[in-house]
């Protein structure tokens, strides 16, 4: 049983996390909704670089955002829940923007055009565009919620305590995973309930979802208040990017420090790339197999399937790590324990559910007519899979790969507990430097990760362009 103090803490944490999730998605959705209110070419020229930069900021750990904002906030005596919420929103805005862009991209141009002939543009936005984009928006919101629920380091910087600190304190005191697991049960139950809600909503909202088209016949004409909110959201993006960037550039002091930090961390860099690539690849394969079954499952089983798939998202990272250690450190498990496969498994448990979500959305969007034609003309199943199915699902595969890749790169809580001796990730080194106060090295590594992700983003963009995904 939890006491009054813990209950208050628990409720405050729910409020704080839900608030963060809501703000992340509201700002992300408002910014992304310009897809429908700007002319496409203007959008491409002006906003694409901003959106790409904002999204790759996911590579900057929330703690780095927090340190940058703390410099500013402390100067003006700003602290508490509001300050912490703002910093988490800034750190998670890439999630909000990314899922919002995905959601708005899924909306069919034809449906919007049909709606416009019958009603005002603002009604079309409210009744057609938003409901269709809603599964992605809600997924982004729950993802931000879960991330915030488990992260006590950022609130701590602004003198706010949340429930996960209580769980950590209990773990620290008992060294027994059972007690903190019991303490984390209320959080897991709430997260599971939200997941169930989202799953049932998604099922309804994804009906009729087929294929996104170009949006060149736009823009929609929206009321002034909505356009003002959009502008505010767009203005927030450069703030979100520039605050940690300026802080990082100032801290790195001279360019040679970037090179020094890369040299010192080259082994971690290599291991991180291998771990993230492997995790993302296997997660995508796993998701591909599972998403097809989920999409084709009978509706009475679908909800249960979704809850099972998404449940790992509700488990705190250290518990995933300790659980795996307990399970695989038994005799006879030496073939996997202490190898690269342990962190791969840990990260797959944590992030493969998101790959399943992404691929399910993509599968829903696939043109059934084309698949039916392929099944008639294909020489055999493999021929049809390679020539028709795989190219059609490729954008979804790449998105799922990237999501898992990025999250694995930044994972700490579980990876630390299962990484093989002698190996560590870039994130582990960054956190070590943080303790040492080596801001030059932290800044150098964060800027390196930013450059890497920016390059990856551009490569993926090129791939999408070639496969027609750009539209």
């Amino acid at each position: 049983m939890i006491g009054t103090r813990q209950l208050i803490l628990f409720l405050r944490t729910l409020f704080y996390s839900a608030g963060t999730g809501a703000f992340v998605m509201i700002i992300g959705a408002l910014a992304a909704s310009v897809l429908w209110t700007f002319r496409h070419k203007t959008l491409a020229r002006l906003l694409k670089p901003l959106f790409i930069l904002s999204c790759v900021m996911i590579f900057v750990p929330p703690y780095v955002h927090a340190l940058a904002w703390a410099d500013l906030f402390y100067r003006y005596g700003i602290e508490g829940l509001g300050a912490s919420l703002w910093v988490m929103v800034m750190a998670l805005l890439p999630v909000g923007l990314g899922f919002s862009l995905l959601g708005f991209y899924l909306v069919e141009d034809a449906m919007v055009e049909a709606g416009r002939t019958l009603n005002r543009d603002s009604i079309v936005m409210k009744s057609i565009i938003l409901p269709i984009a809603m599964p992605a928006l809600l997924t982004g919101m729950i993802f931000s919620f879960l991330w915030t629920v488990h992260d006590f380091s950022v609130p701590s910087l602004f003198f706010v305590n949340i429930y996960s600190l209580e769980i950590f304190a209990k773990y620290s005191a008992t060294n027994n995973p059972f007690e903190p697991f019991m303490l984390s049960l209320p959080m897991i139950v709430v997260a599971t309930l939200i997941i169930i809600l989202i799953s049932s909503l998604s099922k309804k909202l994804m009906l009729g979802l087929r294929k996104g088209h170009t949006k060149e016949s736009l823009p929609l004409v929206m009321p002034l208040w909505f356009r003002c909110l959009q502008i505010i959201a767009i203005v927030i993006l450069p703030v979100q990017i520039s605050t940690p960037m300026i802080s990082l550039i100032m801290k790195v002091a001279k360019p040679s420090n970037i090179w020094i930090s890369i040299l010192q961390a080259r082994r971690e860099l290599g291991f991180t790339l291998l771990l993230s690539t492997l995790t993302a690849t296997l997660s995508v394969i796993f998701a591909l197999l599972l998403a097809k079954r989920v999409v084709e499952a009978e509706s009475r089983h679908k909800l249960l399937l979704w809850v099972c798939i998404l449940f790992p998202l509700a488990i705190p990272a250290p518990l995933v790590g300790i659980g795996l250690v307990t399970l695989f450190s038994q005799r006879g498990m030496g073939f996997i324990y202490g190898t690269l496969w342990m962190p791969v498994l840990a990260n797959m448990i944590r992030f493969a559910p998101l790959a399943v979500v992404t691929l399910s959305v993509q599968l829903k969007r696939m043109d059934q007519g084309l698949l039916d034609s392929a099944s008639v003309f294909q020489k055999n199943r493999i021929h049809g899979f390679i020539r028709v199915y795989l190219p059609m699902i490729l954008p979804g595969l790449i998105s799922a790969f990237l999501i898992v890749f990025i999250l694995t790169t930044g994972e700490l809580g579980a990876t630390l507990l299962v990484s093989p001796p002698g190996r560590s990730t870039l994130t582990m080194r960054i956190y070590n430097y943080m303790h040492y106060g080596s801001s030059q090295m932290i800044a150098g590594l964060c800027l390196t990760m930013l450059a890497l992700s920016l390059s990856t983003g551009l490569i993926v963009y090129r791939v999408f362009s070639k496969t027609g995904g750009d539209r």
């Binding site: 103090r5 208050i8 803490l9 703690y63 402390y74 380091s153 701590s156 910087l157 003198f159 305590n161 600190l165 209580e166 304190a169 209990k170 773990y171 620290s172 005191a173 060294n175 995973p177 291998l274 690539t277 492997l278 690849t281 394969i285 250290p318 790590g321 300790i322 250690v325 450190s329 038994q330 005799r331 324990y337 202490g338 190898t339 690269l340 791969v344 390679i386 795989l390 490729l394 595969l397 700490l412 809580g413 630390l416 507990l417 990484s419 093989p420 001796p421 002698g422 560590s424 582990m428 080194r429 956190y431 070590n432 430097y433 943080m434 303790h435 040492y436 106060g437 791939v463 496969t467």
Partner: protein, 340 residues
């Protein structure tokens, strides 16, 4: 279509590499060490050990962000199939936890023969050396020398502004150890009252000792509690700061030794002994002090440091066992007081 083919080829290459790479490399002599000593200090020392002995070291480093739930819990969870040979901690509480969990094995290192018995486990399960002290860290731009605090009880001084003071969360790390030491020294009631007043006054309670250090260095607070290793980093950078060893006219300050222990059933016991001997040597203790990780030797060593005032440091008169015995109650009470 071409992209799909390329993607398939890349996929095959990645999977094949992942299968082959971990198996590559010749297996020579090696030793696995789990350490909570900061990577930036431990890494070079372990590399030097490799060069001197030819034994490959596979380290796993802890990070402050996971508080104390990281590596020690991993050692406990690996009880049935130990991966680590040596556990090297920056403090002693978690090492005693491991000893009580039965995951350590006795080893009497010849390098530790000149270390006083009070720094050793009675059953030789661990050995302490190379201490760090709990200190008050002061911003010299914000306080004049006559305003410098001299005792941890200055955190309760009604004439001082509590919003200009900071401590790390006392449920974790060395701040928790210091809290347990205060419980052992002052008694439960008085110590609890001390922390309740800290909370009631509105002293800033932040994420870790490195954060309190950074806040003092940046002038966000006038003074804070931290460890000597954290404080000295800032002193070496030339920040406007000063290290005060508190309560030298009273109860003394807490000195926290590093501890080294051998893991029971580790895969490389002979190499583990060589590494433990290396880490516990007098030369290594001096090296740890010279490099800034430790500042208080446990045996006679000539040291020079500009970071903390030289001379004998008055240590709190409490044993490690007494401090450890208060761990659970302190953790529970600190959580009740501070996690609100």
């Amino acid at each position: 279509m071409k992209v799909a083919k390329r993607a398939s080829v890349i996929l095959c290459v990645v999977l094949l590499s992942a299968l082959i790479l971990p198996a590559c490399g010749t297996k020579g002599k090696e030793v696995v060490i789990y350490t909570s000593v900061d990577q930036i200090f431990a890494e070079d020392i372990l590399k030097e050990f490799e060069e001197e002995t030819g034994i490959k070291v596979k380290p796993v480093f802890d990070v402050e962000a996971t508080k104390t739930v990281g590596l020690a819990n991993r050692v406990i969870a690996e009880k049935n199939k130990p991966q680590a040979d040596v556990f090297w901690s920056g403090e002693f509480i978690m090492t005693i936890v491991l000893a009580n969990e039965g995951v350590l094995t006795p080893y009497t290192s010849p390098s530790a023969s000149d270390i006083p018995a009070i720094y050793k486990d009675p059953d030789n399960l661990w050995t302490g050396y190379a201490g760090r002290a709990r200190v008050i860290f002061v911003n010299t731009d914000l306080l004049s020398p006559e305003e410098y605090p001299t005792s941890i009880f200055d955190f309760l001084d009604p004439d001082r502004d509590p919003s200009q003071m900071a401590i790390a969360q006392p449920m974790f790390g060395t701040t928790m150890t210091q809290a347990a030491a205060l419980y052992a020294y002052l008694g439960e009631e008085e110590a609890r009252d001390f922390f309740e007043q800290i909370k009631a006054r509105g002293v800033k309670v932040v994420d870790g000792n490195s954060v309190t250090r950074d806040m003092v260095a940046a002038g966000q607070v006038a003074f804070a509690l931290t460890d000597t290793d954290d404080a000295c980093i800032s002193v070496d950078k030339g920040d406007p700061v000063k290290v005060i060893i508190p309560d030298q006219d009273g109860m003394g300050t807490l000195v926290i030794p590093n501890t080294v222990a051998m893991v029971r059933g580790g895969p490389n016991p002979e190499e583990a002994k060589i590494l433990i001997d290396y880490l516990l040597s007098k030369e290594m203790e001096k090296k740890l002090i010279d490099r800034g990780w430790s500042h208080i030797p446990v045996r006679p060593i000539d040291i020079e440091t500009a970071c903390i005032p030289m001379g004998e440091i008055k240590n709190m008169n409490v044993t490690f066992e007494e401090i450890f015995n208060y761990r659970d109650i302190v953790n529970q009470q600190m959580t009740e007081i501070f996690v609100k």
